[in-house]
């Protein structure tokens, strides 16, 4: 099956004024997004995430390389009719929400009753059906972002590209949008999600790509990335914390991590000391920890809440 979104060795440079050195936003960037997945796109500010999205949408041209969206070269207007897009810091015309969503739907070739019904459906899906007749100029930023999401969904897109969709939302709205994204995936659609909210990405994304200084630095299934594969956390009872280095005792339960190669030895040691093994689990890392690693930052162990 052809990938839905494909970047092939793409580079993008922004030329600066009067011949100073151009700014490299993306460098030899290649990525494939498959049908039916929620794909997380992560990176620090200035990593090139938005540039990659704008290239895919045809808002700008690559300096080198090329890409395809829904089998068509980037920038193809017909392909965009099957795509939904929500920009970071969404900006909308000031008019009633339903009217606005219908305007965007009409630009995606929807007409008549289909358009009318679809506009109502998507406003209901984002929790704004009661506010459909209110002017978006009077909406809060979070509500405007939800209208932005509604306009992205109005054409029932095969591919949904979202740039920071939950940044201005309150926790309740976030949960709602999260379940909406999951239902979109259940319907066989694809979501390309760029976000700074790593916990959100961790919860919904099947695969994740991390970008740093315009380069792809990590790509893989979320579940595999979160498994370190290097260490095991052992929880035991009936021993003291001094028996193992860096072990922590709370309420009579001792927790410590050991390298996978020493797991058998550690378990035997617990039993030798007369202790009881409560659990043995591979250490799960958080996306935040991986993110800080690949972007060259050192995580503060106490802040991460991860054993070991």
């Amino acid at each position: 099956m052809l990938p839905l979104l494909e970047f092939e060795d793409i580079s993008k440079e922004y030329n600066r004024f009067l011949g100073s050195r151009p700014v490299v936003a993306l460098e030899h960037f290649s990525l494939q997004v498959e049908t039916g997945e929620i794909f997380g796109f992560l990176g620090p500010n200035g990593a090139g995430k938005t540039t990659a999205i704008h290239l895919a949408m045809g808002f700008m041209r690559s300096t080198r390389g090329h890409g395809r969206m829904l089998g068509k070269p980037f920038g193809d207007a017909r392909a965009r009719s099957r795509v939904g897009f929500l920009a970071e810091n969404v900006a909308l015309y000031h008019r009633p929400a339903e009217q606005l969503v219908r305007f965007y739907g009409a630009l995606n070739n929807l007409k008549g009753r289909v358009l009318k019904n679809r506009a109502r459906e998507v406003l209901e899906a984002v929790g704004l059906d009661q506010e459909a007749r209110r002017n978006v100029a009077r909406f809060s930023r979070g509500m405007q972002q939800r209208v932005g999401l509604a306009q992205a969904l109005v054409n029932d897109p095969e591919l949904l590209i979202l740039d920071e969709p939950t940044s201005a939302l309150d926790p309740i709205a976030r949960v709602k949008i999260r379940s909406l994204l999951l239902s979109i995936r259940s319907a066989g659609k694809t979501v390309f999600l760029s976000s700074h909210l790593l916990s959100e990405v961790e919860m919904v994304c099947d695969r994740v790509a991390m970008l740093n200084k315009g380069k792809l630095v990590k790509l893989g299934k979320t579940s595999e990335l979160l498994q370190s594969g290097q260490e095991t956390e052992i929880v035991a009872r009936g021993i003291t914390a001094t028996c193992f280095p860096a072990a922590v005792e709370t309420d009579g339960v001792v927790r410590f991590t050991v390298p996978v190669a020493q797991q058998k030895f550690a378990l035997e040691r617990v039993w030798e000391l007369g202790g009881e093994v409560v659990s043995v689990n591979p250490v799960r890392r958080s996306l935040e920890q991986i993110f800080l690693e690949v972007t060259g930052q050192q995580p503060e162990k106490s802040a991460l809440g991860v054993g070991g």
Partner: protein
């Protein structure tokens, strides 16, 4: 065509307040028609009419020169161009929107002019021919200012449009009158500007065709440049 119409109507809607301000000239002209003795003050009324038409043309340039910049600055252009809308359709929608505003204004001025100028003996047929010329000048201004707005900020786009439209007129005044026909905005507006209650200059038909051809040429150039522009880059 539907996309172009949607963008044009949207543009018109977004510019409704400046258009309303422009319409105050029609209102002023109507008030003059009611309170002034049109036979005695015909030249004064004609002067006001000419001024109103001039402002209409100026507004067309301002609309065109700022259209793309404003949309890029507010980032609203992203949501529009993320839909099934080509760059050519977007440019065409803007120019159509500007022309829609110009057509409504010209029609309102034409109707009011027929009434107030007709009372002083100004021939209605000639007035509507002049309004057709005004429309073509507006089209020329709109396509040229939108062309410049694809790569210049509103101030420079307005200045560049003014230079391209004005230089032939200056050259004609300094050297030969045919220079004005290079970009025939001045040549088309000249019969209106020189019109008086006593005499009327004829409108040259080929100039209408030339203006139309040039407007289409500027339109195509605007599309060609805009197609190659990075629209997501910050404009400030």
């Amino acid at each position: 065509m539907r996309h172009i119409a949607l963008i044009a109507i949207n543009f018109f809607r977004e510019q409704r307040w400046p258009i309303l301000v422009l319409m105050s000239w029609v209102f002023l002209l109507s008030v003059l028609g009611l309170v002034v003795d049109l036979r005695k003050a015909s030249d004064d009324v004609l002067f006001i009419f000419k001024q109103g038409v001039g402002y209409g043309i100026l507004f067309t340039i301002f609309f065109g020169a700022s259209a793309i910049h404003n949309e890029r600055k507010t980032r609203r252009i992203l949501a529009v161009l993320s839909k099934s809308v080509g760059r050519g359709q977007y440019i065409s929608g803007l120019i159509t929107g500007i022309m829609f505003a110009a057509a409504i204004y010209s029609f309102a001025m034409g109707v009011t002019g027929t009434w107030v100028l007709g009372a002083s003996g100004f021939p209605a047929e000639h007035l509507w021919l002049l309004m057709l010329c005004v429309m073509l000048v507006c089209l020329l201004c709109a396509s040229l200012s939108v062309l410049f707005s694809t790569f210049l900020n509103p101030l420079f786009a307005t200045m560049a449009t003014g230079i391209v439209l004005g230089l032939p007129a200056v050259a004609a005044l300094q050297f030969r009158s045919r220079w004005a026909e290079v970009v025939p905005a001045y040549s088309l507006i000249e019969p209106l500007m020189k019109a008086s209650s006593g005499s009327n200059e004829p409108v040259r038909g080929p100039l209408l065709m030339l203006a139309l051809g040039e407007a289409v040429f500027f339109w195509v150039c605007a599309f060609w440049i805009f197609e190659r522009r990075d629209i997501a880059v910050a404009v400030d």
